[in-house]
């Protein structure tokens, strides 16, 4: 029996090495492609024939569009409008990555800390740059709440800086840990079904029914984590634009 961690193993499909860097096209890259291609196929076919009276596909795509548009409007404000395509892409990418990972035998690229941390770091750096571009050095006032006594500065500023710097970590670890743990649990229960069901059919039903329930839960988690990932990015952008 394989370990529940085997599903996270990266296997090279096309070995590529450029300038001493191992850039092999792996199963992770393959499923990233599948997720992005699936989302692209869905969105492009929904948007290409966009009509006043939408069909099913267009309605579904518009629901997602309005969902993210509302999220950006509420959490960032009107200034966030021009960043909307980025947030929409981010949400669709994470959502499809999470959902595609639930296909039995598929690889979940969002269960890898490198991937989630890279996304979080890009968001963090971009938002910090936007903050400096909008406010210049005044952006640093983000680290000292206005109205606080000056004497508290030596304590408050390090706390604010640390909390700001830990944002990409908490953002990436949240998604990575949720996806990893969910898939480990699925694998463990699937193992129970096999080991119990192989000898006695009836006892195998018990972990199987639990597995069905957890599978449903994992679909919910897949959508929820994509939502949380995107809304936190929105809130970080809000801070950079409005400074608290």
């Amino acid at each position: 029996m394989s370990s529940p961690l085997d599903q996270f193993q990266i296997k090279p499909i096309v070995p590529i090495e450029i300038a001493g860097l191992n850039l092999a096209f792996t199963n992770s890259a393959l499923w990233m492609t599948v997720a992005a291609a699936g989302a692209t196929f869905f969105l492009v076919s929904a948007a290409s024939g966009a009509k006043i009276v939408p069909g099913r596909l267009q309605s579904a795509a518009e629901m997602l569009y309005e969902f993210i548009a509302g999220m950006v409007r509420e959490n960032v404000g009107d200034e966030g409008k021009k960043y909307f395509p980025f947030f929409f892409t981010l949400f669709m990418f994470v959502l499809f990555g999470n959902l595609v990972g639930l296909i039995p035998g598929a690889f979940t690229f969002t269960s890898h800390i490198v991937v989630t941390f890279t996304m979080a770091l890009i968001i963090f750096l971009t938002i910090t740059l936007i903050g400096f571009a909008r406010h210049g050095t005044h952006f640093l006032s983000l680290f000292f709440p206005s109205g606080a006594p000056l004497a508290t500065a030596p304590i408050l500023i390090p706390i604010e800086v640390i909390s700001y710097m830990s944002r990409p970590i908490s953002l990436s670890v949240r998604l990575f840990a949720n996806m990893t743990v969910g898939h480990i649990i699925l694998k463990i229960f699937a193992g129970f079904v096999i080991s119990l069901g192989a000898f006695f059919v009836i006892p195998g039903v018990v972990p199987f029914s639990v597995l069905v329930g957890i599978m449903a839960l994992e679909f919910f988690v897949a959508a929820l984590q994509a939502y949380i990932f995107t809304i936190l990015a929105c809130i970080y952008l809000h801070d950079a634009i409005h400074l608290h």
Binding site: A29, M32, I52, Y65, T89
Partner: protein, 160 residues
């Protein structure tokens, strides 16, 4: 855990950047503008239709008000015409009855005169006949010859 194996870090970061960039290019270029345009066009159409419906309703209200005003006006006019006609008819009837009354009074008057004349004539005859009868009676009963004029005078005296 395989997640912390640095062998594949570079590969994963590289492919993430490549795939995400392509995906972003497609979504921002071909999806969000079209979906946004479709949603906006729908909102605009609904807004336009609502505005049109509102203006049509306003127009209808105006027409209804105009209709009601015209109805009230014609009703008042009809009432006035009816009043005038009634007054004219009443006047005409009064005139007619007054004229007829005058005619009738004339006729009654002339008839009365004629009756009075006839009575006078009749009475005169009666006097003459009474004188004759009285003279006859005096002659036959008393054997007196009384002139008719005397008898008349006596009859008149007796009657008085």
């Amino acid at each position: 855990m395989p997640q912390f194996d640095p062998t594949w870090f570079a590969s994963q970061i590289f492919w993430l950047l490549v795939i995400f960039a392509i995906f972003y290019y497609v979504v921002a270029g071909a999806v969000t503008p079209k979906l946004g345009a479709a949603i906006e066009a729908r909102e605009k159409q609904i807004e336009g239709d609502l505005a049109k419906a509102g203006s049509l309703k306003e127009e209808t209200d105006k027409m209804v008000a105009a209709y009601e005003k015209a109805l009230a006006e014609s009703r008042a006019k009809a009432q006035a015409v009816r009043g005038e006609t009634e007054a004219a008819a009443a006047k005409h009837a009064a005139e007619l009855s007054a004229r007829q009354g005058a005619d009738l009074a004339d006729k009654i008057k002339s008839a009365e005169t004629r009756i009075a004349d006839a009575r006078k004539a009749a009475l005169a005859n009666v006097e003459a006949i009474a004188g004759e009868i009285a003279a006859d009676a005096a002659r036959k009963i008393a054997g007196l010859n009384v002139s008719e004029a005397d008898a008349k005078a006596a009859a008149a005296a007796a009657r008085a």
